[in-house]
């Protein structure tokens, strides 16, 4: 089985740590990358064209939100799974995620919310 790769983009160290642990415990062979902002994520993407899962926080410091980054990723990574992780559960956010065809998870992050998404990859 080929090794899968995930990129976790979140300005919260704690949330990155939680998602990393949930993925690692269920898929120990996955490579996991992290970035603390969408801008930082964009800077490392050219070196990683084979990412299977993007976990994107909605509200981060910098010029791009999670949804902004998701829009960029949809065309360049058509076969990857993109998940928006958000504490901001307003309908406008949900609708934009749905229109983009991406999943969203409401914070707090828990194994019960993340594991079913991993099974789809």
């Amino acid at each position: 089985m080929s090794q899968k790769k995930a990129l976790i983009v979140d300005d919260s160290t704690v949330t990155r740590l939680m998602i990393r642990k949930i993925i690692s415990e269920n898929h120990p062979n996955w490579e996991i990358l992290e970035a603390e902002s969408a801008d930082k994520a964009k800077s490392i993407l050219p070196d990683h064209l084979d990412i299977d899962l993007f976990s994107l926080d909605q509200n981060m410091p910098g010029t791009l939100s999670g949804l902004d980054l998701a829009e960029n990723l949809k065309s360049n990574y058509p076969n990857s799974k993109i998940v928006l992780i958000t504490a901001n559960i307003q309908d406008a956010i949900k609708n934009r995620a749905k229109n983009l065809g991406i999943d969203f998870v409401e914070k707090p992050v828990t194994p019960e919310k993340i594991i079913p998404l991993l099974e789809k990859i």
Binding site: S12, V14, L17, M18, N59, P61, I89, Q90, K107, P108
Partner: protein, 202 residues
């Protein structure tokens, strides 16, 4: 002194009652323990009254501030803990993810995340119930004396009628951990919000 009618006060209490139920559920999920909430106590108080608020004056506290803008006006929401409680909460949140002796490294980030989740849940519900558009900013964590943190950060401190609205205290079941949620908005914004809610309830 500005004041609200009984109906205006009731409408706001109802709003916070509903919002806090959701927030308490989220916090219970985060720390894997039950949260007990008091019925929201709605008080309109001035800055000077806030300085002597309950047992917080001169106390060391940690707070997460979430600024917001939108139809409701400019304001700030605060989740506030006594300093002595903050590490205990972080331990409960992080116990499945890091060793106990590493927990303190994550105190600021973990509390910021708790504040982000709780305050966003309340503000989202407020937006939904009022049909207001509300944009939140990235939460900020502060630690220090209560007066300095809460009052010096009042975004409306240069305006007349600047007040603090609403406090809710909550308690973790079986633990001596108490916390507070504060909202700072100017009086006109609060009055307008209550009127919108009353219209929706008709």
């Amino acid at each position: 002194m500005n004041h609200l009618t009984e109906l205006e006060r009731d409408s706001l209490c109802e709003l916070f009652n509903i919002s806090l139920g959701g927030a308490a559920k989220l916090m219970s999920e985060m720390i894997s323990d039950e949260i007990l909430l008091t019925v929201p106590s709605l008080k309109l108080i001035t800055e000077s009254e806030a300085k002597n608020f309950e047992n917080l004056a001169n106390k060391d506290v940690c707070t997460v501030e979430q600024k917001f803008v939108g139809d409701i006006g400019n304001g700030s929401a605060f989740l506030l803990f006594h300093k002595s409680a903050s590490l205990e909460i972080v331990k409960m949140m992080m116990k499945d993810y890091v060793a106990l002796n590493e927990v303190s490294q994550f105190e600021k980030d973990a509390l910021s995340e708790i504040g982000n989740i709780i305050l966003n849940a309340i503000l989202s519900n407020l937006a939904k119930m009022s049909n207001y558009k509300i944009e939140t900013q990235i939460p900020e964590f502060f630690s220090g004396k209560y007066e300095e943190l809460l009052l010096n950060r009042n975004p409306n401190s240069n305006e007349d009628n600047s007040i603090l609205l609403v406090f809710i205290d909550y308690q973790l079941k079986g633990k001596e951990i108490k916390g507070y949620i504060f909202f700072i908005l100017n009086f006109d914004s609060i009055k307008n919000l209550s009127r919108v809610l009353i219209e929706k309830l008709k």
